[in-house]
């Protein structure tokens, strides 16, 4: 187990280094942030001073090495725009994104698994066919369009729910959260549902496929032959087996939820990391972009690790020591 975790952390470090090079190089190529930052009426001397202060006069490899050197000491650089440490900007907005992602994940699991099991058990009923058709829609209709339509219906036409921002927040262990206030919860519903739709469709399909496979296994019939109630057979024997693929995929997708909340956050003006990224790309605010992307890569690596450990808890046949690749 320990060996497994250490090996994973080493792999993670390698991934981060490669990723930083790609991102840094990519943003370097995209454009010159100076145009965005220097006032229009600044003269050449002022211009040069700003360029020098940001280290933009150095060649690419020097800039990169300098960045890595600072990054290793925990300094991801200051935002060109806000003149604040990039990491702090990201961490400030992280709780909002996490809240949104967790809410979306909960919606996907709590609604998706029962629907998927139902569709798997009664594959031929019209209800199941409706569920499966709806899940195809959830997969294929773009998130931003659904988001805009949701705003149109629920915020503009019906006026039931607010469409922008987080609403009132309260501090929970020093972190501002929305879901504990009525106003915050109302603000959370639309973006969370919007972000959940894609995952919900996926959970339904995974749960259905798992159910259809597991329900025909001998051990389900044997469980029936033992005289167990239907509730126990579905709730324990079937559920634990279909959760193995669901947990694996959802764990990986949780990283995706955070990374791709960009779209939802932009549509609903949710003040999270994703919106920060989009704004930073607009300003070519390189330190923030690089810091964000590295942060997300780190998050993915961490989540993968958690999923592997969780997987071994769910499926006793998996022993982590055996993972040698």
């Amino acid at each position: 187990m320990t060996v497994f975790v250490i090996r994973r952390l080493l792999q993670a470090a390698l991934v981060m280094i490669i990723m930083s090079l790609l991102v840094f190089g990519g943003v370097f190529l995209v454009g010159d942030p100076v145009e965005m930052l220097v006032a229009d009426d600044a003269d050449q001397a002022e211009r040069q001073a700003i360029i020098k202060s940001m280290g933009l006069d150095l060649p690419f490899y020097m800039q990169y090495l300098r960045f890595i050197g600072n990054a290793l000491q925990g300094d991801m650089g200051n935002s060109f725009v806000f003149q604040e440490p990039a990491m702090e900007l990201i961490l400030e907005r992280m709780p909002a994104t996490f809240e949104l992602a967790i809410a979306a994940l909960l919606i996907a699991v709590v609604i998706g698994i029962p629907l998927g099991i139902y569709a798997g058990l009664k594959a031929d009923s019209w209800m199941s066919k409706t569920i499966m058709t709806a899940s195809i829609l959830g997969f294929s209709v773009p998130t931003f369009w659904v988001g805009i339509m949701m705003i149109l219906f629920f915020a503009v036409i019906l006026g039931w729910l607010p469409s922008t921002g987080r609403g009132d927040t309260v501090e929970l262990f020093g972190i501002p959260v929305s879901f504990l206030t009525l106003d915050g919860l109302q603000h959370l519903i639309l973006p969370a549902v919007n972000l959940a739709l894609f995952k919900l469709s996926m959970v339904i399909r995974l749960a259905r496929a798992g159910t259809r496979e597991v329900v025909h296994q001998d051990y389900i019939k044997f469980a029936r032959a033992k005289g167990l109630s239907t509730g126990r057979i579905i709730g324990v024997h079937l559920f634990k087996n279909i959760m193995i693929p669901v947990v694996t995929v959802l764990g990986l997708e949780f990283g995706g939820l955070i990374a791709f909340s960009v779209v939802t956050e932009t549509v609903f003006a949710w003040p999270g990391m994703g919106k920060l990224l989009i704004d930073s790309i607009g300003f070519l605010d390189r330190p923030v972009i690089v810091a964000y992307l590295l942060f997300v890569v780190g998050l993915f690596v961490f989540i993968n690790l958690v999923v592997d450990v969780l997987y071994s808890v769910l499926d006793p046949r998996v022993r982590l020591q055996e993972v040698k690749s």
């Binding site: 001998d218 044997f222 033992k226 005289g227 167990l228 109630s229 006793p316």
Partner: protein, 326 residues
């Protein structure tokens, strides 16, 4: 068998309503099995023996349905019994052991979970009592250090050990009847011998009636008291095991016995029954075996009835063999 039989099956018909047509998997099957007795239910693949077993427990899945006949468990007809009544009986009064021990235990649940739930589904007992009974049952089927083994997962057992666990689960609630569907087919011959011995002992000790479904005549010869031979969804011959195996009256039974490789016939070609089992979708009007039978005549175009013969035997044939004909 002076008193009521533990299980009596009368004219059971289980059909599967598929898109291609009605598959008559079990088509008029009758037999009975008494307290402490073992009935061998013999036949080729597809002869309907497993479906018969599932029918008894009410475990026939869609599109299958029991369409006729009676299944009398201690006089109570199980055909048409409510779902809840069947659930109460399953695992408590009537237990089943499946063919493939690698597939019958849930891979993600510990053995103790799977055993304790089987007890608690039928009896109001504490977890500790249930665990105690589970441990005893494991000991009873010859699993060493049952306390530790209770905490194991199925994949930590060998095939033979898993089948012992499955048998222990079947025994947990001391059922009156166990339906064993080829439980030793997937096992080594040595393990098979041990399990057969233990099963025989248990039935004699506890008075449990057993239906042993198999295609292996040598198992039936050593284990069963009575035997029913099935062909294409019908019982074609039934009787005491020694009578039937020593002097088969139905040409199919004779063919089956002749197909067992034997030491006396070393070097000779193995005997086989020509042809294949008929499609259950499209059974012939008359005797289902006629097309493969050396004794078939025009009379065999009429369906033969199951008739009583001398020595408490039953036979479904227009041309029963005389004893010396084997």
């Amino acid at each position: 068998m002076s008193d009521q039989a533990t299980l009596e099956v009368r004219n059971l018909q289980t059909h599967f309503f598929t898109k291609a047509g009605v598959v008559k998997a079990v088509n008029d099957v009758s037999f009975s099995v008494g307290k402490g007795k073992i009935l061998g239910l013999v036949g080729e693949s597809g002869s309907g023996k497993t479906v018969t077993g599932f029918s008894i427990l009410g475990l026939v899945d869609e599109p299958g349905r029991v369409v006729g006949g009676e299944i009398l468990y201690r006089g109570e007809n199980l055909v048409g019994a409510s779902q809840e009544r069947m659930r109460q009986l399953r695992g408590n009064n009537v237990a089943m052991i499946f063919q493939d021990p690698m597939m019958t235990l849930n891979p993600v649940l510990r053995i103790d979970t799977q055993m304790i739930e089987a007890i608690k589904a039928h009896h109001k007992v504490t977890d500790d009592e249930a665990r105690q009974r589970a441990r005893d049952a494991l000991g009873q089927v010859g699993i060493p250090s049952p306390d530790e083994r209770l905490k194991s997962y199925p994949h930590q057992f060998s095939g033979g050990m898993r089948q012992r666990v499955a048998i222990a689960i079947a025994l947990l609630n001391k059922p009156d009847l166990i339906v064993a569907d080829e439980p030793t087919t997937a096992l080594d011959v040595t393990i098979q011998g041990q399990i057969l011995y233990e099963v025989q002992k248990l039935c004699a000790e506890t008075g449990t009636a057993m239906i042993w479904i198999t295609h292996d005549l040598s198992v039936v010869a050593g284990l069963a008291d009575e035997v029913a031979v099935m062909y294409a969804g019908r019982v074609v011959e039934a009787g005491k095991v020694d009578d039937v195996l020593d002097a088969p009256m139905h040409p199919y039974t004779a063919g089956l016995i002749g197909s067992v490789p034997s030491r006396n016939a070393r070097g000779k070609r193995l005997h086989q029954i020509p042809g294949m089992t008929p499609s259950l979708l499209n059974l012939p009007e008359g005797c289902a075996f006629a097309a493969r039978c050396n004794y078939a005549t025009a009379a065999c175009e009429q369906p033969p009835a199951l008739e009583n013969a001398a020595g408490a035997r039953q036979i479904r044939c227009h041309h029963p063999l005389v004893a010396e004909a084997v």
